[in-house]
């Protein structure tokens, strides 16, 4: 709640034209938005470009729109989500393939396998620890549908509340709660299947 209040103050300051406030919002959320986008694209360059776009669009939105912004954090993630969708739509258009939600999902699935490339920036021992731990769930996550993957990321990695996640994915709180519960069960099932001796 305090974080939300601080965000509200920063938004007011940005609307007043204070770029220092924008700088503070960037420092607060850039890493998290980056991680969220990277989880969907697994390509550093694209992630960097898209992250920049999100913050630039945030500035433009706050400079031009005067309506109340209830939750800046949720708003940022919504923008990031839309940015990634637009990015994949652009890719699909260039390949002259008709837009297909399943295509997007398949592209995202295949991109998950490149995720550990990011670990190159960690120290060696952290890298090993990360890769070992991540290896365990990576394949499991890849087998889930995008809706479940996103819900797990927002809930357990980005620490959003159910209400906030509902706002981001544009569903009711009840439906979101169900998705999160099912996502966790599905991931457990998939990992259990993978660990079963063949």
């Amino acid at each position: 709640m305090i974080e939300n209040l601080q965000d509200k103050i920063l938004v007011l300051k940005i609307r007043n034209g204070e770029t220092e406030a924008f700088s503070e919002i960037y420092d607060r959320y850039a890493t998290r938005i980056y991680r969220f986008i990277f989880f969907k694209t697994s390509r550093v360059e694209e992630t960097e470009d898209l992250t920049s776009e999100v913050f630039l669009k945030l500035w433009q939105y706050l400079s031009q729109e005067r309506g109340e912004l209830r939750n800046l954090k949720a708003f940022l993630y919504q923008m990031a989500r839309n940015q990634v969708i637009d990015y994949y739509r652009g890719l699909a258009a260039k390949q002259t393939v008709s837009l297909d939600e399943r295509l997007i999902e398949q592209v995202e699935l295949s991109s998950l396998t490149g995720l550990t490339g990011q670990s190159q920036q960690m120290k060696i021992f952290e890298k090993i620890e990360f890769e070992e731990a991540f290896e365990n769930i990576k394949d499991g996550l890849a087998k889930l549908k995008e809706e479940y993957r996103e819900a797990l990321l927002l809930k357990y990695v980005e620490d959003f509340s159910t209400g906030e996640i509902a706002e981001i994915i544009n569903k009711s709180k009840g439906a979101t709660r169900v998705i999160i519960h099912r996502a966790l069960s599905a991931l457990k099932e998939v990992i259990k299947d993978a660990e079963r001796p063949k």
């Binding site: 960037y26 980056y34 960097e48 500035w59 769930i137």
Partner: protein, 384 residues
């Protein structure tokens, strides 16, 4: 596995973090873009500007005779044009009619600066804006290709002039007695040029191969050299014990330079694996290996706090890297122009083949077939 165990595994994903340097530099870039947008949309300056410049006009009147008349007229046009003219000029890009006024306004402000540190601060501000203009042109889709190239060329020339000015300014500051001022200036230039490289590389990737990409590459080299000069100044002042800058900070800056060089090498490496092999590519591969070895040595020197030696190795590796990159660029450009030629020739051959092998419409169905002495000629009457 319990739910909690599973959740703990998921939390590992939190370790994914962006590169710290990119994070910091991206913030600067965004702030520069925002500053440009703010200037373009500001419309409340009119009278205040006239008053301000009116006061300064008196102060400068003894100087104006030293300036070309044309420039002075431009200043006056900006001032007397009021807020609207200034706003329109501020939003203009290289190639636009009002861009000369924008440049004039910047020169005017530079004239007002009396000290080298003030001039440096202004020049960095203008360089930021010029870089933003460059990226705007590169990203705008409403320019025709030839127009975009022309504008980019102009923007790149302006940016290269900025770099030349920065280099001169640094040299001038370096020779002054105010050491802390000199180091602060060098630090600022080092940070900014790091950002400029990042942005220019993104622009380079967006360009098709050709002359303009070569120009962008040339500009990246110039930025790299300016950055190295700034870093050399920092290291030298530190070694002479003349500055307050800590060994840790010097090490961090050199480390950042090595990382940048390594990233550049990795990117070149990807191009080398996808380009078909010839003499130049083999040469580039050999040079890449040399660069890798030099950078490794630089890292070891850095670990031993041999800052000057580390920097020398980085400079040498830069030169070898540029040779390698030029070799690859030449090969790529030759391959592109050869394939274009081949495609054109193949097209011509194909066209001629079609004329020989494929019956024309006058031959299909309606014309008479070549007479076959074995076959009786069949006329419509015969076929009834």
């Amino acid at each position: 596995m319990t739910n909690q165990e599973l959740i703990n595994k998921l939390k590992v994903i939190k370790k994914i973090q962006p590169d710290e340097t990119w994070l910091k530099l991206n913030r600067e870039r965004l702030l520069a873009q925002i500053a440009n947008q703010k200037t373009a949309s500001s419309s409340h300056q009119g009278l205040a500007e006239v008053f301000y410049f009116g006061r300064l006009f008196k102060q400068l009147s003894k100087n104006f005779v030293l300036q070309p008349v044309g420039t002075f007229v431009l200043m006056l046009a900006i001032v007397l044009g009021g807020g609207v003219a200034k706003v329109q000029a501020d939003a203009s890009l290289p190639g636009d009619f009002l861009y000369a006024f924008k440049q004039g306004g910047q020169q005017f402000r530079m004239m007002l600066a009396r000290r080298d540190d003030q001039r440096l601060k202004l020049q960095l501000e203008f360089t930021d804006r010029h870089l933003d203009e460059l990226t705007q042109i590169a990203e705008q889709s409403n320019f025709a290709t030839s127009e975009r190239e022309e504008r980019l060329r102009e923007a790149l020339n302006i940016f290269q002039a900025d770099l030349a000015y920065l280099n001169n300014n640094l040299q001038s500051i370096n020779s002054q007695t105010d050491v802390s001022g000199a180091v602060a200036a060098a630090q600022k230039v080092d940070e900014k040029t790091n950002l400029y490289q990042l942005v220019l590389k993104q622009t380079e990737r967006k360009m098709a191969t050709g002359k303009i990409q070569t120009e962008v590459r040339k500009t990246i080299k110039a930025v790299d050299e300016t950055e190295t000069k700034a870093l050399t100044m920092i290291v030298s002042k530190h070694q002479q014990g003349q500055s307050q800058i800590s060994s840790q900070e010097v090490a961090m800056r050199i480390e950042s330079k090595i990382k940048q060089a390594t990233d550049n090498l990795d990117e070149l490496g990807k191009t080398l694996t996808t380009t078909s092999v010839d003499g130049k590519i083999n040469e580039a591969k050999t040079n890449s290996q040399k660069v890798q070895d030099m950078l490794e040595q630089a890292r070891q020197d850095l670990a031993n706090q041999e800052f000057v030696i580390a920097l020398e190795k980085i400079k040498t590796s830069q030169e070898i890297f540029n040779e390698a990159k030029d070799s690859v660029a030449e090969t790529t450009e030759t391959a592109t122009s050869t394939s274009t030629e081949t495609n054109v020739n193949a097209g011509l051959i194909r066209e001629n083949s079609i004329n020989i092998l494929t019956p024309t419409s006058s031959e299909k169905g309606f014309g008479s077939a070549p007479a076959d002495p074995e076959m009786p000629a069949q006329t419509p009457q015969t076929l009834k």
